[in-house]
């Protein structure tokens, strides 16, 4: 399941919904990304994060990433929920779930989806700190993490 939405989601409720759909899977891995409260470079307190995205492509790209994960590992299920629009520090931006008979596959697929989402899903963050608003720069460390999966095997 892929869901891209403006309104907040409840990570606990989503967890139980995913488990209900996958009660026969031995292992469920998940990752939750939260809005950070301080900027990397200026160390200033962030008041608002605004997330722009590319409607249409976002859902397709997340679907392609989940399909790639399911082609690579024996998964029972994989889900991504991603917000866009304005958010405040501590809000959940993204939640990824994977279900598999084996925990190693669930972990690997969950991290793979996050790594590819970070470098491929068309979202752009803009942070407001004090009176300044600035676009967040992409991290080369994210590219490095994503490229691990292509060089692995």
């Amino acid at each position: 399941m892929i869901r891209v939405q403006k309104k907040p989601f409840d990570p606990g409720a989503e967890t139980n919904l995913f488990l209900d759909r996958n009660s026969n899977s031995g292992g469920v891995a998940s990752f939750i990304g939260q809005v950070r409260d301080f900027q990397d470079d200026t160390d200033q307190k962030i008041s608002v994060l605004e997330l722009e995205h590319y409607p249409g492509m976002t859902e397709k790209e997340l679907g392609r990433i989940c399909s790639a994960a399911r082609a690579r590992w024996p998964l029972d299920d994989a889900s991504v929920i991603h917000r866009y629009g304005p958010m405040k520090p501590g809000d959940a931006i993204v939640m990824v779930f994977t279900a598999s008979a084996h925990r190693a596959d669930a972990f690997a697929a969950c991290e793979f989806i996050m790594d590819w989402l970070k470098t491929q899903a068309p979202f752009w963050k803009r942070e407001r700190a004090g009176t300044d608003t600035s676009w967040v720069d992409a991290k080369t460390s994210d590219d490095d993490r994503a490229s691990r999966w292509t060089s692995d095997d």
């Binding site: 722009e52 249409g56 790209e61 470098t119 899903a121 068309p122 752009w124 720069d137 992409a138």
Partner: protein
């Protein structure tokens, strides 16, 4: 040729609009050709595309290289490296 060109994040801010319906000449065959042609449309376009190392492209909602053929693409998008998640 008629194509929808989309801009996101600071590319959109620099160009000044998020969407343009354009009809580039026949000679525009690749994304690179389109960028060269766009840079001639206004100083804002030229400014937005001044450093292509900071621009990514999607052709019909699929990531692609700058030398990708446009063919009968309906929608071409330009944006900075993504920062979601």
């Amino acid at each position: 040729m008629s194509v929808t060109v989309l801009y996101f994040a600071w590319v959109k801010e620099k160009v000044g609009v998020g969407l343009e319906s354009l009809s580039p000449p026949e000679s525009v065959r690749t994304v690179s050709d389109l960028v060269d042609w766009l840079k001639l449309q206004s100083p804002s376009h030229a400014e937005a595309f001044s450093d292509l190392s900071q621009i990514r492209v999607a052709v019909d909602q699929v990531h692609g290289p700058f030398d990708a053929a446009i063919d009968d693409a309906k929608e071409i998008a330009f944006f900075p490296p993504v920062t979601g998640g």
